[in-house]
Symmetry: C2
Subunit: 193 residues, 2 copies
Amino acid sequence: MRQDVHLGHASRLINHGPTVLVGSAHGGRRNLMAAAWSMPVEFTPPRIAIVIDKKTFTKELVTASGGLAVSIPGRALLDATYAVGSVSGREVGDKFTRFGIESFDGPVLGLPFAADAVAWMECRLIHEPHTEEAYDTCFAEVVWAAADARVFDHGRWSFRDDNTDLHTLHHLGGGNFAWPQRTEQARPLKPST
Amino acid sequence: MRQDVHLGHASRLINHGPTVLVGSAHGGRRNLMAAAWSMPVEFTPPRIAIVIDKKTFTKELVTASGGLAVSIPGRALLDATYAVGSVSGREVGDKFTRFGIESFDGPVLGLPFAADAVAWMECRLIHEPHTEEAYDTCFAEVVWAAADARVFDHGRWSFRDDNTDLHTLHHLGGGNFAWPQRTEQARPLKPST
């Protein structure tokens, strides 16, 4: 059900603050970690900021390859998301293999995504040594995006009762995740004065 | 029901990606805008990154005062959140007054919060001219935090069926917001190899 997402709509994929998975690869090694801290920073070109601890194996691979594969997991990957966020690939090796997470390689940079996620953004790292050092904050440009059409279509998430397994995960801490079962449309507010 | 939050837990307030309201004030003028794009970047000291368009009235006031008051709205502020995100304070004047949004001033910097939100973080801007210019991304340190104890207690959000009006808002685009009615605890995942 993977459908390309127009790059002008890429920011929508993480606009509502889901936890994401960061796939990375370089020199025959690859890794997958969870990141609760990411956000869009620009619509066009689509750019994001994401916090990747400078000491992690992921950061080492991202820096070496110059890119990252951001998968947005749905509820079906709840346990996997927490698992890959709890151990280091330096210690346990390839986390895709270790935890039985299916992967595919991105079409532009060839970086590894979680196939059973509900959306995907392949990103090229923008070299910003100061913010990477001071705040572990990496900036990146989205070069390809796709989503599962059952839950993201026409540039918009559609969280419904008939697709709850595909709803995004929002980490509250300690492995407890919220998921957005309900949505609501804001109404125009009349000025009170 | 406002209860101080230990600064070591401040990152938890936005860990799950809610849309926030940015209060600002300087020289007798004040403003309130919505921001879907923010994230923690560090636990201790608690620091956040937040995207504030450099052309906005909010950015002008934040730069002048050196601080911002981040309110985290719950569902009760759904329409207000969308309203303050849709017009500029340069054109409509004080948006607290215009839209009948109750306010209080933060205890450290005296900046204006939305009183009916469910959590609050007073932040001191960290001067980072390059990222503000290149990515509209501001870094700030949280100097005071509080939350409504009915929905955030002991350093953790507690979204339940009996407090749905206090659940946070997550902007999907176009005034459509998701809210995290359900939470789920991840279970340890056994290695598959």
